[in-house]
């Protein structure tokens, strides 16, 4: 609807129509857009200073960096009461985003007809006098005849990407007048961008209404069919997730994790229907629900399984085959690093509980699990071992060895240090895992709006390219043969980036 039409309608319209018109005008103004930019920005800044969705003490701690501890203690609960500690999830922030989407939509609808008119209208020859006033001009003389100059210009234009050249087929009245254009549709780039932003916001809204996002901690060996939503409520899934194993791999000689992964099974009606080892950056997707590896933790249980692998050192340096390690429920355990050295096929894979004993095959030596440390470290002052953190970052198991009932040796065997596995002449005891003490933290979500959002991303990319790297370029060429050398006047205009067009025209002139 053009402004004129609207003005007419306003005169004849009812009071209600006037009101609607007024609202329309407010939302179609760039001023509103700018005001919204500012309001959303300022409130977002508050959200980055006040830690969101965090426990009280954590919120106070992070605020104290800006205000000091005493003030933060008083201020943070107040802020939390105002709803600013869950700002991005609040109704008013969502409304701001909604208004933003509305504003973009109405702005675009308001301006689109005018632009559409330009886009729909092909280039027309303009009077020669006006060509002299065009922003880009180039004038020169050519000695050859007019027909070949015209031919050369047309092929030059084609090469430069101008496909439709009017006047070329002699359809126009003036045979010595050529005009052409390209990129007419790129004028819509801005609106393509606006549309894609609305689409992305719509996708986000679909996710908020129809999707969910939740977390769940599952111990190794346990399963769960209910997850905890962000607001703390529980939600039942129509299947159960079982964590068969969890493992962290570290870079050599460093506490930096290289990967952490969970072996998950999906169980429905007590039947296993899917299984995957998930990793950060590699989720399990089942029935539209995605399960991500988010974090992990350690929780000691006395009934957990110590898994050992006993091997005999092979003189010929033959590579040992990797034995199949399985948990009681028959699912595999992530393998340790043992199989790379020159070891024979394993003699025995053991799983035992704290305090239990085992026998090294072919000898009369028995071992007994007497101690465990998930993150073994030595105190530099006292020289005593201690538990550095409640994580399996450097697991070590204390084993006592007996021969004929007499204590022969006591050793720490480290999961991550193969040198400590060589406990007896000719034998290694690899500490594969303590299974059942780690839990995996999974992020479970359903985002039905994701395809809409991704479509929005693609359209946004296209729109940005149209809006910033392409332009609507028009070229008019007038040839005149009054004088002996043929006079060529090339004029052009572009809706942005005039230099590109200028260069094109110069190249066109050079070629002739």
């Amino acid at each position: 609807m053009s402004k004129k039409e609207r003005a007419e309608e306003q005169k004849s319209g009812s009071a209600e129509e006037k009101r609607i018109d007024k609202i329309w005008q407010i939302f179609s103004s760039v001023k509103t857009a700018i005001v919204l930019f500012v309001i959303i920005s300022v409130s977002s800044i508050i959200g980055t200073v006040v830690v969101q969705n965090a426990p009280l003490d954590q919120g106070i701690e992070s605020l104290s960096k800006f205000t000091g501890d005493a003030l933060a203690r008083k201020l943070y609960p107040l802020i939390a009461d105002m709803g600013l500690s869950d700002m991005y999830g609040s109704w008013w922030f969502a409304s701001l985003l909604f208004l933003f989407a509305l504003n973009i939509t109405i702005c675009s609808i308001d301006r689109l007809p005018k632009v559409w008119k330009i886009v729909k209208e092909p280039i027309k020859p303009i009077p020669v006098e006006l060509l002299a006033k065009m922003p880009v001009r180039h004038e020169f003389g050519v000695k050859t005849d007019i027909a070949s100059v015209k031919q050369a210009l047309i092929s030059g234009l084609r090469k430069a990407g101008f496909k439709k050249i009017s006047g070329a087929e002699g359809a126009s009245a003036d045979r010595n007048y050529i005009c052409t254009e390209k990129g007419r549709y790129t004028r819509l780039g801005v609106y393509v961008v606006h549309f894609s932003i609305v689409l992305i916001l719509a996708g986000a809204m679909i996710n908020t209404i129809f999707g969910f996002s939740s977390q769940i901690n599952i111990m190794e060996g346990d399963s769960s069919s209910s997850v905890v939503l962000l607001n703390g409520k529980e939600r039942e899934l129509n299947f159960a997730i079982r964590c068969d194993d969890f493992d962290t791999e570290y870079y050599p000689n460093s506490g930096r994790p290289r990967s952490y992964k969970s072996s998950l099974s999906i169980i429905k009606n007590s039947k296993e229907i899917a299984r995957k080892n998930i990793d950060v950056n590699d989720p399990l997707i089942f029935d539209g629900i995605k399960i991500y590896q988010a974090s992990y933790g350690f929780y000691f249980r006395r009934d957990a399984d110590f898994i050992f692998r006993i091997q005999k050192i092979n003189d010929r340096g033959q590579k040992g085959t990797v034995p199949d390690l399985r948990t009681p429920s028959g699912v595999p355990v992530f393998d340790g690093a043992g199989s790379e050295s020159g070891l024979s096929p394993s003699l025995q894979t053991l799983r035992l509980k704290y305090g239990e004993t085992f026998k090294i095959p072919g000898t009369n030596i028995t071992g007994k699990v007497v101690d465990f440390n998930p993150s073994f470290a030595i105190d530099q002052n006292t020289g005593q071992p201690y538990i550095r953190e409640k994580q399996m970052s450097n697991p070590a198991v204390g084993v006592e060895f007996y021969e004929k009932g007499a204590l022969k040796d006591a050793k720490w065997i480290f999961k991550r240090i193969p040198d400590t596995w060589k406990v007896m002449e000719g034998y290694t005891i690899e500490f594969v895992d303590l299974w059942g003490v780690q839990y995996t933290t999974l992020l479970v979500n359903r985002m039905p709006g994701l395809p809409v959002i991704y479509t929005g991303f693609i359209i946004l990319s296209i729109g940005l390219y149209m809006a910033f790297f392409m332009s609507h370029q028009k070229i008019w060429i007038k040839l005149s043969e009054k004088d002996k050398p043929v006079k060529v006047l090339i004029a052009g205009s572009a809706n942005k980036g005039g230099e590109g067009l200028k260069r094109k025209i110069e190249r066109l002139a050079e070629d002739i």
Binding site: P257, L443, L460
Partner: protein
């Protein structure tokens, strides 16, 4: 040779170039100008070599293939890359516009970024990729973000130059704005320079260099007197900037740089940076976040601040095209845009916490 040696060469080169470009601005000797360009180019080549060597070192340590051997995984590496993009962009502008005077405004930004590395004592070690960073999106997301940051830095330099050239009268808002902004930048630069000279003094009880020693020599000095004096000196410096800012104007004015050209250059930098930032920073970031964290957008401080930066530049574009803003007002918006960019890049990691913590000091 190791990458660190080439990086050291380039750091020295850029700081020398900064001096040379400022000397060029003052003395207008074309010999000095050529020397400045030569030093910058040498630094750039050295840095390019260093970047490849570090990539190779990274590849050897990580053993994860070429796509996972991009040395862009911590603050140190990202600052180095930012400077590389900035210098590349500057050299292109110098070559295209045949004008060296921008150098005096761009090289201090580069010098500041490099000085920041040594002052804060941030880790320069190659850190193998933590699981969240093990993605092919790392390359696309990080490189494009930093290319965009560099174009924004260039637009900041030209916007400040524009304000310097066009503002009239010491009491006009534009004059106060540009002298204050440039003043703050220079104060920070000088304070970091002082940190750099007294850096060795700050060792903790284990004899390790104290991290984040930023402003420890001045504003955050253990002695309250020195700190107070620093603030006073900073205020005095700002006053001098305000009082004698017009000298800058005269100098720049003598280089046949028109305000129109600076305005156009500012716009061009933003017109390149904005779509790259949207695609690389926001879209690719969202896709990666969806894959790694299960949330394409989680209002993490880094995300929120990039959105704010995006809004500022969107504001710039709309004000320019829809409201017809030109000149001083729009140049101020461009300058604010870069302040927001700096906060997105550094402020978030230094002051706030969040999912992008690997970019911290």
């Amino acid at each position: 040779m190791e990458s660190s040696q080439f990086f050291a060469i380039s750091s020295i080169a850029y700081i020398l170039a900064m001096v040379a470009y400022i000397a060029y601005l003052v003395f207008k000797s074309s010999t000095v100008g050529i020397v400045a360009t030569t030093i910058t180019t040498t630094g750039f080549i050295s840095q390019t070599i260093a970047f490849f060597i570090r990539g190779k070192e990274f590849y050897d340590i990580g053993q994860m293939g070429i796509m996972r051997a991009i040395p862009l995984t911590n603050l140190y590496e990202s600052l180095i890359f930012f400077v590389w993009c900035l210098i590349l962009g500057y050299l292109i502008i110098e070559w295209k516009y045949k004008n060296r005077s921008f150098g005096a405004f761009v090289t201090p930004i580069a010098g500041m970024a490099l000085a920041f590395i040594d002052i804060t004592g941030m880790s320069k070690a190659i850190q193998p990729l933590i699981p969240a960073l093990q993605s092919n999106w790392l390359l696309a997301h990080v490189t494009l973000s930093f290319i965009a940051y560099a174009t924004f830095a260039l637009s900041f330099a030209t916007a400040i130059m524009y304000l310097a050239v066009t503002s009239e009268g010491k009491k006009s808002g534009a004059y106060i704005f540009w002298t204050a902004t440039l003043g703050i930048f220079l104060v920070v630069l000088i304070a970091m320079g002082l940190d750099f000279f007294v850096a060795g003094e700050h060792l903790d009880e284990h004899g390790h260099m104290v991290k984040s020693g930023l402003f420890r020599a001045t504003f955050k000095n253990a002695s309250g007197g020195v700190a107070a004096l620093s603030y006073l000196a900073a205020l005095g410096f700002m006053f001098i900037m305000w009082k004698y800012g017009y000298v800058f104007k005269k100098i720049i004015g003598s280089f046949s740089i028109s305000g129109e050209m600076l305005d156009d250059l500012t716009y061009k930098c933003i017109a390149i940076g904005f779509p790259i930032f949207t695609l690389g920073g926001l879209i690719f970031g969202a896709i990666w976040a969806d894959q790694a964290w299960g949330k394409y957008w989680s209002w993490d401080p880094k995300e929120t601040w990039s959105l704010i930066t995006w809004f500022v530049y969107a504001f710039y574009l709309h004000a320019r095209f829809m409201r017809g803003w030109r000149g001083k007002r729009i140049a101020m918006v461009a300058a604010i845009g870069f302040v927001s960019t700096v906060f997105t890049y550094l402020g978030v990691n230094l002051l706030l916490s969040g999912l992008h913590a690997y970019g911290g000091v």
